[in-house]
């Protein structure tokens, strides 16, 4: 038997204990004259009752006891771990800074590097083949005579 379409949502909400005000009054006025909706309400209530889990057992209560203490302890452990990792990170960065200072420091102490050479001047300063004819012409030959 199918409940009336206009009341179907109200029936499930009533079965869940979530109906009040005008809608509750509307459903209450309708139910006495509608067997289908009464059956529908019973159907919803029955299905939701079956869906409910059994009451919490003693075993479950025992397992859950001390949850607050365990959660706080785990939280504190995580905080300590985070601080330890932070400390390790700080130590690592400090060590890297020291190494960098040892490697880079001496060059910094040497003062500024000489200015770079002009490539054009360097090219001109290279060795050139001598002009032998010019050298011969400008050379005075010594006449030793007899």
């Amino acid at each position: 038997v199918t409940p009336c379409r206009d009341y179907d949502v109200l029936l499930s909400l009533r079965a869940a204990g979530a109906l009040d005000g005008d809608e509750a009054a509307r459903l209450d006025a309708h139910l006495p004259g509608c067997a289908a909706c009464r059956a529908g309400l019973d159907g919803y209530a029955g299905a939701l009752a079956l869906a409910r889990l059994p009451a919490v057992s003693e075993t479950e209560r025992a397992a859950a006891s001390g949850l607050a203490v365990a959660v706080v302890a785990e939280s504190a452990r995580r905080v300590r771990r985070r601080h330890r990792l932070g400390g390790l990170l700080f130590t690592g960065l400090s060590a890297a800074a020291v190494i960098a200072a040892v490697v880079v420091g001496p060059s910094l102490l040497r003062g500024p590097a000489p200015p770079a050479e002009d490539p054009a001047l360097l090219a001109d300063a290279g060795w050139q083949e001598p002009d032998l004819d010019e050298i011969w012409e400008t050379t005075n030959v010594i006449d030793w005579g007899e």
Binding site: D8, V9, S12, L13, R14, A15, A16, G17, A18, L19, D20, G21, E23, A24, G40, D42, G43, Y44, A45, G46, A47, L48, A49, L50, A51, R52, L53, P54, V56, S57, T59, E60, A62, A63, A64, L67, A68, V69, A70, V71, V72, E74, S75, A76, R78
Partner: protein
Amino acid sequence: MDEHGDGIRGSFRVIPGGAGFQGDAPPGSPDEPALVAAFLVGDDAAFGELVRRNEDLVLRVVRRFARSPEDARDLAQRAFLRALEAARRGVASGRREGFPFRRWLLRIAVNLAKNHLRDASRWTRAPLEAVAADASATAADEALARAESARSVRRAVMRLPRRQREVLTLRVDAELPFAEIAATLGITENAAKVSFHHAARRLREVAEREDRP
């Protein structure tokens, strides 16, 4: 539509604030935002109080999806620790006042339960064994038939679409008002009620099929 079910056969009792009834704050004790703020400046006792106030509620949410009581406790613990991280991030991003710890906690618990469900073998054991034990103890045909129907309906809960399952769990297991269910899941109250109705209709069909000879 408000939450009332008194006098209605088979209806649910809805406790203001949900099923965390054992953890209700005593009069004069700090409220939740104050406890979150206190914890974030190093007061471990404040977080312990937050856990105590909400542990029953979280256990009820995850219980259906756990394979054992220890599994449920583990899921609950993870939910609390993740909610704590969320609170830390919320404060770090400047949200110092009014962090909705309980809403975050429930959302995280629902998500953890959803992820836990991915392993289908996990949900066929714990809660259903309790039903089977009851049934064998009474050894009555009627009880056995009811236990079988309950088994089928609870399996159907696990096969519901995710949103319907979340709403149903928060209503049936956690006994939350629809307004809080909507706030937890980030949907409208009307959408939460519609999802619940679809879920209930599906379960009713399964139960009626089980009743047929």
